[in-house]
């Protein structure tokens, strides 16, 4: 008898547990406002920021009559000026009937003005707060963050989602063009490295806007000091690796060729030479030819030799151009300091102290090894000589 009673009491107690606690932390989907973008701009007051939230407006569809099922297409933007990010969000929460839901935030955008002032002190909340994800893209706006978050794009009405998709697809070719929150924070923690953040610009034309990534902003410590344009981004990208296939076009005196470089194997070795530390770079890659113009009445193997040579030259030029630019800014965007730390952990403490003086003097030795492996569907062009080298 006791046994059965005990069981029944246990069941009742368990049920009461559920009922009395209620639905703790329960948020039905129609009680939350999904934030898709978060922007931080410099406010008039130096201690404060202008916070912009892009919130997607979920259109109710009862039944099937509307075609809008599938994409919360429109959005609204909320703004607040406050000294902290979360306090700003709290302020905004009071203006709308729903609670603000930050988990699905796609992008964090800093205005250029704010980036010049420094972004470090606002990074804390992104690391600390549970709702923030470390996979969120970080961007710097060419103008203000608000400009981007209020823009409507052609394909995606919601600019934050559109941007995040755009960065995702860009990052397949140039991984350097995408910076996640976690990349940014880890680079900030390496004292010698200067983080880079993609810059996004918006061109408004008749209602719809085109957002594009126009380069990389270079941050020294946490302040904007300059930017790499897209050509230098490619030069930067060669060294940073992590790219599958990079299109690369060359102009020689004989003609024009469009190639792409893939299978890139890169080794950068920090070394101490006679005149101080230098970086030796060993670059290997496969060139595939995509398009050839000119080179009339030349043998194929001659063309290949020319192409290969000019590829190497141009590559070297691009790499050095970007490297010298970063030396001028005294910003170690490549993380060479960290490479030295990995190789010479004992000497590094000294090195770090003087890194700002060492970096502008740093030398680079480049060894480039390219091989033409793929010529597409044909070997010759229409106007080339038929005869080819036996070995090819």
């Amino acid at each position: 008898m006791n046994k059965y009673n005990r069981r029944i009491y246990l069941i009742i107690i368990l049920i009461i547990n559920f009922i009395l606690t209620g639905c703790w932390d329960n948020n039905e989907l129609d009680t939350i406002s999904i934030v898709t973008g978060l922007g931080i701009d410099a406010a008039e007051n130096d201690d404060e920021i202008d916070l912009t939230l892009q919130v997607s407006k979920i259109k109710g569809t009862t039944g099937y009559e509307k075609g809008a099922v599938g994409q919360g297409s429109s959005f609204f933007v909320m703004e607040a000026t406050d000294s902290g990010i979360l306090s700003g969000i709290d302020k905004l929460e009071k203006q709308i009937p729903r609670s603000i839901f930050l988990h699905h935030n796609q992008v964090i955008i800093f205005g250029k003005e704010q980036a010049k002032k420094g972004i470090k002190k606002y990074m804390d909340v992104f690391i600390r707060e549970h709702q923030m994800r470390m996979e969120t893209w970080v961007l710097i706006s060419d103008s203000t963050a608000k400009d981007i978050l209020t823009a409507t794009m052609e394909q995606e009405e919601n600019s934050a989602i559109g941007l995040s998709k755009m960065i995702y697809s860009e990052s397949r070719d140039y991984e350097v063009l995408s910076t996640k929150l976690i990349d940014l924070t880890s680079k900030m923690m390496e004292k010698t490295t200067s983080p880079v953040i993609p810059i996004v610009t918006v061109n408004s034309e008749n209602g719809n806007s085109e957002a594009e990534i126009s380069g990389l902003a270079i941050l020294k410590e946490d302040k904007y000091i300059g930017e790499l344009d897209l050509e230098r981004v490619r030069g930067y990208s060669w060294i940073m690796g992590n790219c599958r296939e990079i299109p690369f076009n060359i102009k020689t005196e004989h003609g024009y060729a469009d190639t792409s470089i893939s299978n890139i194997k890169l080794k950068n070795k920090p070394k101490f030479g006679a005149d101080g530390p230098f970086i030796s770079i060993d670059f290997k890659g496969d060139v595939s030819i995509r398009e050839i113009q000119g080179f009339e009445d030349m043998k194929t193997n001659e063309i290949f030799a020319i192409l290969q040579r000019s590829c190497v030259e141009q590559l070297k030029k691009e790499i050095l151009d970007c490297f010298n630019y970063s030396k001028n800014l005294n910003a170690d965007i490549y993380g060479f300091g960290t490479e030295f730390y990995r190789k010479y952990p004992k000497n590094f403490e000294k090195l770090r102290e003087y890194w700002d003086e060492i970096y502008p003097e740093l030398d680079m030795e480049i060894d480039i090894n390219l091989e033409i492996t793929d010529t597409g569907k044909v070997l010759n062009s229409l106007y080339m000589e038929e005869k080819t080298d036996e070995n090819r």
């Binding site: 029944i8 329960n26 129609d30 109710g60 009862t62």
Partner: protein, 535 residues
Amino acid sequence: MVFRYISRKIVSAQNRNKVNHDAILENGGLAISKNLEENLDFIKSAIGESQDLKIHEFAFGEHNQFSGALVYIDGLVNTIQITESILKPIVSNRKKYKSLEELTISEIRRSILCSGSVTESNLFSQILDGCLSGSTVMLLDGFSKGLIINTEMWEKRDVTEPQTETVIRGPREGFTENLRTNTTLLRRRIKSPKLRMDHMTIGHKTATNVCIAYIEGVARPEIIELLRTRLDSIDVDAVLDSGYIEEYIEESPFSIFSTVGYSEKPDVIASKILEGRIAIISDGSPFVLTVPMLFIESFQTAEDYYVRAFYASITRLMRIFCFFIAVFVVPIFIALSTYHQELIPTTLLFTVATAREGTPFPALFEALVLVISFEILREAGLRLPRAVGQAMSIVGALIVGDAAVSAGLVGAPMVIVVAITAVAGFIIPSQTDSISMLRIIMMILAAFLGGFGIAIGFLGMLVQLATMTSFGVPYFGAVMFSRDQQDSFIRMPLWIMEKRPKNIVYKDKQRKEVIIPPVKSDENVKQKGQDNFDE
């Protein structure tokens, strides 16, 4: 309190000794008298003025000096057999019996009757039993003994293809309501002399014949003994289906999982018997029970063994997957959409949120409405005549579902999720009832506690399953790492499974001595085949 009342009832029922309810049986303990009239009167009073009770009085002997009577129930007996093999021989017998001393009961039995199964009895109880189960009772004036002659014959259903457990490939016979037919179907499949069929009678009023079938040496004696004691201790007045027996012999009566297996197909039961299980055949039910039952048996079907091993393994894995779908998809959907929106991919979240917008009820209520209305529709479809049932499902599924979505009462994703769940649940017919209950429990847990609740529910389910036993055998048996794995999540080829299941079988463990892979064709044969082909 209601609970206390019920539990007191249960306990007192457990403590109570077996009582004999039946007055007739007590009276039936009387012995037969020598007077035929008295005996017939007693039988009449015991059975009552039933129309189907037939008493045929007759006289026989040289000068018709002896008188006797045949008592039987019309419809249960073969009247031709009574005429041909009882009445005709006895009436037309011209042997000279001078007195009662010469004519003894055993003499009649031996030299006059032409019937196979005849027993003598001097107790009314046995005579009444025999009469009511289709035998003909012969009483003679001047003898205090009666003859019970087996003349059973009644209308019965033919062996047909079962409605449940249909197969594409495999035997199509099904059990019938007749016990004898069912035992025949088993005997025909297992011709071993070790196949035992033990009979017993359960039910004070129905006196249902129950048969337990097993192979000696393969089934464990302690399980047989346990089953016998449980069957013996059943104190009930009626057994109308094997389901009655199931409830009395299962070990976890309060669990939502069934610990007794059942099947309508003789080939399935035969294979279970060959694995060392014991079958319980109950007269009047085409469903035969098997014990002990393991959880994994719910996912095994007859066809698994008739098609090739690869496909059988895939479908079995799919069934297990469907069990999880059927139980957990709705709870997970509820938990994700009310607690863990961060786990839904962004684009999907917008879709779900769009559908959610404007629906008036919380997610749990929405899901409960759909799940319960699905159960209602299912039940209605089952009970109605088949032709109407189809109309039912169209009205229910298409019109109501569609209207509910377009009226904005429920969201379209929820309808999809519940529909998938419902379909997945049908894949495992023997667990459909437990799935329906588990689903609702999990849904409530998910709605109150989110993902944490689902985890608790899942753990609770596992603990329950792992602690349960069926006739002393762990219910989760073949899921554990053991040789039984070869026939649990996947089915190995038949030629690899050389042993019977470990937990169930007794001494005779080997199905066969060694693993012999199917023979590869000889080179000569190959060559010959090639030659034929070339010609």
